[in-house]
Amino acid sequence: MKTLDERLMWAKQNLDPIRSDYRVVFENPDELNMSIDANASVKVLTPDPNWMAAALHGNILPPVWVYWELAKDEAQPGFTKHTRLHLLHETEPVEAMTEEEAMEYLVMKDIPSEIWDTRANRPRFKICRMSQIPSDRQFRAAWALAA
């Protein structure tokens, strides 16, 4: 089996990028409550078009749990370098996803688990369409997730 890097290179060379209309809007309530972080605003995740093409094609991306395992390793005190990157390359890749499944995968891969793996009084993230996000960025710092 080819490594993940080789699979990504193949995808880059052979698959047309797919520009998804989906976005993930999320917030970290702890940041918002503290109000000391100038970056404590709602965040918006945009999927990469090459990544989306790979996700919809299938047999390129590793299962999302591989990233969780690597994150666990990195969170250990004294971490200097990864010793289990073979998980990325040697774990059987996931099959083709729908666009919606790909967005759920991205939520679990690229958004901190405390945002999505929790029971809260209200959702801390939403998958929405790009058209639902303001195009005028003049008041970007004041954006908030609607209840």
Binding site: L4, L45, T46, P49, N50, W51, F79, H82, L85, L88
Partner: protein, 128 residues
């Protein structure tokens, strides 16, 4: 697809080790429009997170071995006399490695001394 295995590349004038090529080649690159925001072109990127004005996190598909690496960054706009995508005198940039799978960049407009979304923002990462 074949595999070429070597330790040193020698053209009779210069030599370079395989490690230098492997560790000196960008592992990630991302060109995006911060005003939309949207990714224009990229490699080894899974997503772009818009943190706030002028602040973006690039998330990687294939982790690096370490969480300390070099981030190269430029930001600019299409204005007369300035090559699109090149750093212009009015911008200053900074990057920070968040983990082996993500890094955050900040772009500032020097004229107003505030964070600013540039149309042409380019990043690349070199590291093991």
């Amino acid at each position: 697809m074949g595999t070429v295995k070597f330790e040193t590349l020698d053209d009779r004038t210069n030599t370079i080790s395989a490690d230098a090529i492997i560790y000196g080649t960008p592992r990630v690159w991302n060109h995006f429009d911060g005003t939309v925001p949207s990714i224009t072109n990229s490699f080894n990127v899974s997503s772009l997170t818009d943190i706030n004005v002028g602040v973006f996190t690039t998330n990687l598909t294939s982790n690096l071995t370490v969480n300390q690496y070099a981030i190269m960054l430029s930001a600019g706009e299409r204005i007369a006399g300035v090559f699109p995508g090149g750093a212009e005198s009015g911008s200053s940039v900074g990057g920070q490695a968040d983990s082996s799978s993500a890094f955050t960049t900040v772009t500032n407009d020097n004229d107003s001394n505030t964070k600013f979304d540039f149309i042409y923002t380019s990043t690349a990462v070199v590291g093991p």
